[in-house]
Structure formats: C-alpha cells, structure tokens
C-alpha cells in the first residue's frame, strides 16, 4: 500500500549548523515529493517539491534530494535558525491521480538550540 515514513521522530541541531531530515517512501509511482513545515498551532506550510524525474532541487537555504533507487527523500536546511524549529513532513502525490491528494508521513520534529 501507499505509505510515507520518516526515519527519526526528533532531530536536535545547534543554531548555524546544517540539518538533514530524512524520509522513506514505498510508492514508486508517485509523481511528486513535497516537504511541508508545521509550526505549533498552525497548519502546514509548503517548503519545496521535487518531481520524480529529478534528483535534486534547491530553494532558499533548502535542498531536497531524491534517491529513487532506495526510495529515499531528504531535506537539507543550511545554517539552521531558531525559526526553523517545527515539525517537518514529507508527502507524496499518488502517481495515478491529479487531484492534489497528498499522502503525508508521520513527521520529524526539528529542535534548534541557540
């Protein structure tokens, strides 16, 4: 069945260090992989997406890497700041659907120490 999961529930990093959040997925037919950030008491916020035919995509301070061989997705945050503290979810879009339905993983909590 379709599932998206994360390797670690909590990641603690020092301010200024780089963060790497990992995600494993099982559906090889997914079209897009997406990262969302959720701060306490708020809804998730889009960070970056990557299409399944790409290996890497960069945004502002963030990079997403996709390894289809091992069905692994990662989000790298450069120079982590206190404002990056949140729960990070990876999500995927089922390959056969164009409805925008997102399948979310369980989330990784990022804690940034000052």
């Amino acid at each position: 069945g379709e599932s998206v999961g994360l390797h670690l529930p909590t990641l603690s990093v020092q301010e200024g260090d780089n963060s790497i959040i990992n995600c494993a997925y099982s559906n090889s037919a997914s079209d897009y992989f997406i990262w969302y950030k959720q701060e306490s008491g708020k809804g998730p916020q889009f960070i970056i997406d990557i299409r399944s035919n790409m290996d890497k995509r960069q945004g502002q301070r963030v990079t997403v890497l996709l390894n289809k061989t091992v069905k692994h997705l990662s989000l790298q945050i450069a120079a982590t700041q206190p404002g990056d503290s949140a729960v990070y979810f990876c999500a995927e879009t089922p390959g056969s659907s164009n409805t925008g339905k997102l399948i979310f993983g369980q989330g990784t909590t990022l804690q940034v120490k000052p």
């Binding site: 998206v4 897009y32 997406i34 008491g41 708020k42 809804g43 998730p44 916020q45 889009f46 997406d49 979810f89 999500a91 879009t93 659907s97 164009n98 409805t99 925008g100 339905k101 997102l102 399948i103 979310f104 993983g105 369980q106 989330g107």
Partner: protein, 113 residues
C-alpha cells in the same frame, strides 16, 4: 481573504452529536481539501473538491462523514453521530494552479467526550 480561514478553532461535543466544521478558502482557489490530523501524527487525506464537485472522496472514513462546497468557495465538513475516535484536528487547504502548493488553515480541534 488573506489566507484559509477555519471555524470554529475549537469544538467540544458529546458523543453522538453532529458537528459542522467550516472552511473559507483563499479567494480564487478552485481546489479545496480536507485533512485530519490525530495527535502527534501526520495528516490523513479526507476529500478533495474542484469547484463544487468532489472527484475524490476516498479518504472519508465512514458514511458519518460528509462534505459539501457551495459557490465554489466555502466548504462544510459534517460529522454525524460523533465518536471519540473522531477527536482530531481537522485541517482545510486550498490551492491554485499548482496542487502541490496547498495553503492550510489553522484547523479545527475537535474533542468528542
């Protein structure tokens, strides 16, 4: 409006009662989604609207759950005969042309006693 608005922000109800949750999407967004988030969990897709029709309602957990959208704008999620396992945060999102970029509201926290 400036963002997706949901009401109420909190709802406490008794088991067996019906509840209605409201979502006001971003103006002009034709796609609207409902998700459910249990404590400490990821989001679970419930239903997708394109305009006023719902081409994908595969995530609705039972026939006690229904949703409608009128005027291509406001949507209401109704849960009949609520059960304790319905307790969760119900999140609404809307999107424009890029369905990967969904804008979420702050959610309605539903507690069924």
């Amino acid at each position: 409006g400036a963002g997706v608005s949901q009401s109420p922000s909190n709802k406490v109800t008794e088991k067996g009662k019906d509840v209605e949750l409201r979502c006001d999407p971003i103006s002009g967004h034709t796609a609207l989604y409902w998700y459910r988030q249990s404590l400490g969990q990821g989001l679970e897709f419930l239903i997708y609207f394109q305009g006023n029709s719902a081409p994908d309602k595969s995530g609705l957990p039972s026939d006690r759950f229904s949703a409608e959208r009128t005027g291509g704008s406001v949507s209401t999620l109704t849960i009949q005969r609520t059960q304790q396992e319905d307790s969760a945060v119900y999140l609404c999102a809307s999107s424009g042309s890029s369905k990967n970029i969904q804008y979420f509201g702050a959610g309605t926290r539903l507690s069924v006693l």
